[in-house]
């Protein structure tokens, strides 16, 4: 294993060099802002990753000429992170694009609909509105899964964890990979379903 050890220290030197050359915005910012930024950077990557672990029905965004849309409803917390995350990525040979929506009515072509924390108060209304659409609803609003949303982001110990409402996803005709379910907490409807 000697050769691997040799490569290990080479790799260490290389990665140190790489990090010192990264853009300042990613490393030079104050601690708090850095944490917040990092949180949404992770969430942006997660949003893209859902495309890998979720099966949509064929009816979802059937126009293959269009890109696959990831939509943000409400105030956009990602900045350029989401665009960074999907840049040069393909799903089923289709490019991806970000669409920022002001109302839920515009969510027709969305595969993933991220509902911003700014819309936290109107979550139930929005969900009700997009229920017929085959879109994966995601939000970091408090108790999103329990409130009928499909995937909720929960931040614990500086880590972003997932809460998935399997029932809501099934109702929308989406299939969530068991591998995704492994790494997520599965939750059920509270209130609304009762």
């Amino acid at each position: 294993m000697a050769f691997l050890m040799k490569h290990t220290w080479l790799a260490a030197v290389f990665s140190t060099l790489l990090f010192t050359m990264l853009p300042c915005g990613m490393l030079c910012s104050p601690q708090a802002r850095a944490a917040a930024l990092q949180e949404y950077q992770v969430k942006a990557v997660f949003l893209f990753n859902f495309t890998q672990f979720v099966e949509w029905p064929p009816a979802a965004s059937p126009n293959t000429a269009e890109p696959i849309f990831i939509c943000i409803l409400g105030e956009d917390p990602f900045g350029a992170y989401l665009e960074d995350a999907i840049r040069d990525e393909h799903v089923d040979n289709r490019t991806l694009a970000v669409r920022r929506l002001s109302t839920a009515d515009d969510a027709q072509a969305c595969r993933i609909l991220f509902i911003s924390r700014s819309e936290s108060a109107r979550v139930e209304t929005i969900l009700q509105h997009v229920k017929p659409l085959p879109a994966l609803t995601v939000s970091d609003a408090r108790g999103f899964g329990e409130r009928g949303g499909m995937v909720g982001f929960v931040t614990e110990d500086n880590r972003v964890r997932l809460r998935i409402n399997l029932e809501a996803a099934r109702a929308a005709g989406l299939t969530i990979s068991s591998k995704l379910l492994r790494v997520a907490d599965v939750v059920a409807n509270q209130g609304a379903s009762r």
């Binding site: 294993m1 050890m5 790799a11 990665s15 890998q52 591998k179 492994r182 997520a184």
Partner: protein, 619 residues
Amino acid sequence: MLRNVPIRRKVVASILLTSVVITLLLQGVFFVYDYLQLRQGTLRQTSTLGTIVATNATAALAFQNKPDAEEILGALKANERIAAAAIYDQQGEIFATYPAGTASKLVPQHPSDDGYVFAGSHLVGFQAMAERDRRLGTLYMDFDIGKVLRERFWSSARIALLMTGVALLVAYLLSRALQRQISRPLLDLAGTVADITAREDFSLRAKPHGKDEIGQLTVGFNAMLAGIEAREAALRESEARFRGTLDRMLEGCQIIDYDWRYVYVNDTAAAQGRKRAEKLLGRTMQECFPGIDKTTLFAELRHCMEHRTGAHVENEFAYGDGTSGWFELSIQPAVEGIFVLSLDISARKRIEKALLDAKIDLEHKVAERTAELIIAKEQAESSDRMKSEFLATMSHELRTPLNAIIGFTGTMLMKLPGPLNAEQEKQLRTVQLSAKHLLSLINDLLDVAKIESGKLELSVEPVACQRVIDEVLNALRPAATAKGLLLQADVPAFDVAVLADRRSLSQILINLSNNAIKFTEQGSITIELHDVDARSNMVQISVIDTGVGIKDEDLGRLFQSFAQIETGSKRRIEGTGLGLYLSRKLVELLGGRIAVHSVHGRGSRFSVYLPAAPAAPPA
């Protein structure tokens, strides 16, 4: 190393060795094959396991759920051969490890290229973690096959040991049964050889066992035994005959070994030593003949013994009682030491001694006689010389008064002093004839004397023979004509020259021709000249007559001085008896020779041979 081991064990050992080697070789091949299979299997197994882990852990990686990833990796615990594993994220940073928390110790800090390699007893490598063909990270696996290898090795070794043991046992049992086929005939053969060696009995024969190589060997061995037996019999017979011959030989035979002991002595040899053969055999020469080691004979024997050479000596052997005998000894090196043949030559030696004495006596007598003869000869020669000198002086003295007698008789016959009556004339003519005869006698004597005293001077030069012959013919023609004889020459048309003294040649021819005229009553005298004989380079001149010839018994004395041959009852031939002697002497002085052929009553032929002149003579 097996040289002195019985063949039975050699056969068994070689079969066992072969079996073990083949078994071990097969084990080795199987082990190597098993090892390669194991490697291949391990690679496949690791790759499969890795793929399962990688596939399962994609979500954990994608959604950064480290505990989940560690849990998935933790499932590898089920396989105790997996030493370590790790998951790296897209940036190549360690995301999760197995066993959890041992990051830097067991796994590399960053991933390398995909693929598995064997490093020592470990199989290590990286493989991609992808979801829908999208790479999310890298999985590292470290599979320790050392333990498996060790286990496999020991189990293989156990099996190998067991199989080798079984193979040995089976091979031993089989070879014990099979070796009899090979060893039985060989053992029989060896037993026969041992019997023959022990008993020295060549009439024994080996038992044949079939027709393989050993069978052929047995047949060949038996044939060889028969040959040896026959040869031994012949040898014994020959030796018996030889010994018998030696025993009865008239010559003494003895064989002496290197310690000077008599190995063999025949009766003759014993008798020669005045001993009995039984007293000599087994004893040394020094014991039997004390003091013999100081003799020259013993030294000779020792030389032959040490240098392995032969010798032939005659030796006088002294017996103890003061007598001695002579022996002729032939010494030869023999296998045992030396072989001596001795022949008693005492009798011969005695005769030889007597003969030698007689010879010495005779030689003394011969020497005495020779001395006497030499004196007599010297006296004779001296008187001969004195005679010649006397003759030379006396002839000269005699000739002087004769010239006066001849001269005055001639004058008187020419009737210058006065007339003569018939009786006076007749008597004077008798005086003249006698005086002339006396003169010629004296001349011849003078010549002989000159020759014998070595005072004759010759001037040798090329001489033309034809001219000399003409002169001789002219000089003698009157005498020949007076007797009614034909005097002729038979000469070649060309000149023939000899190296001679002209006067001497002329004298020789006149002498011979005169003789011819004298001894011929009717017929002819011919002087014949031959050409140079190319071989001898001599010229032959012959005088041939048809006269009385010479009897064979007289031919020998013909050329001696004062020898006149009886020609018949009446002795009426004039002559000094010196003519032929003179001619011979002259011819010899000129380097030639003279010869005669004659048939009594039919004629003679005198031939003179003289050296030819080297070139043409002066005209």
